[in-house]
Amino acid sequence: MARMKFICDSERCIECNGCVTACKNEHEVPWGVNRRRVVTLNDGVPGERSISVACMHCSDAPCMAVCPVSCFYRTEEGVVLHDKDTCIGCGYCSYACPFGAPQFPSAGTFGVRGKMDKCTFCAGGPETHGSQAEFEKYGRNRLAEGKLPACAEMCSTKALLAGDGDVVADIFRNRVLKRGKGAEVWGWGTAYGSKQAGQPAGAKS
């Protein structure tokens, strides 16, 4: 069974923001909401690193644990989605999320004002696949079209990988072996657990 995961290779990310633009364009995300962002660590310092950050669709998602109305659900493919008709916009998920993924539009086409909005792994939401209602609330459902998230497919350096966890992990592993460095995967342990990340329990991601 496919388990969808993101990997961002900080050795390759050039901070072009192509992923951010692709996401904005694909889902017509309104002004003020960024489902994906590029964060640069040690900006301006030699050796700076950039990473593309969005919802990582955690194996044990904190947002799901704290939601008072249980609007989140996880698909069989491991994608964490939410029902905007149930969301009350309380913001608890925003505090719980280690990646700052939940966004709260003040107005716009994405449902009623105040409903949480986040990356869907281009998997839409609990509306009819490909319907106008799904697009307006959650954006395009690329997974149901047999495609992968637009951010990863548009990444110019292929720093951002998205897809079945086994496949993207193989791609990344092969890269690390070829270049002989850069094995650290930012956020992997936090999102998917240290055991899956091949790290000792309690280690930082």
Partner: protein
Amino acid sequence: MSRVLVLALAVAAAGLAGCADKEQTATGIKNDAPPYAGTGKPYVAPGWKAGDRNSWEQQLKVRTVQGQNDYAKVQ
């Protein structure tokens, strides 16, 4: 006297009725169809059949390797 008492009780009952809870109509999270069910629209990637989970997964794996593994392109 009894009429006044009955009237008072009726008014009190009518007043308390306003404090009653409304019926809860929330239905919980709606069912979401699996992604391999497809969209029913023509704008889909070729190479898989809607409703067939295995072909959908296989197509995504091939797409991942072809589109994101640049070592596969040069080898």
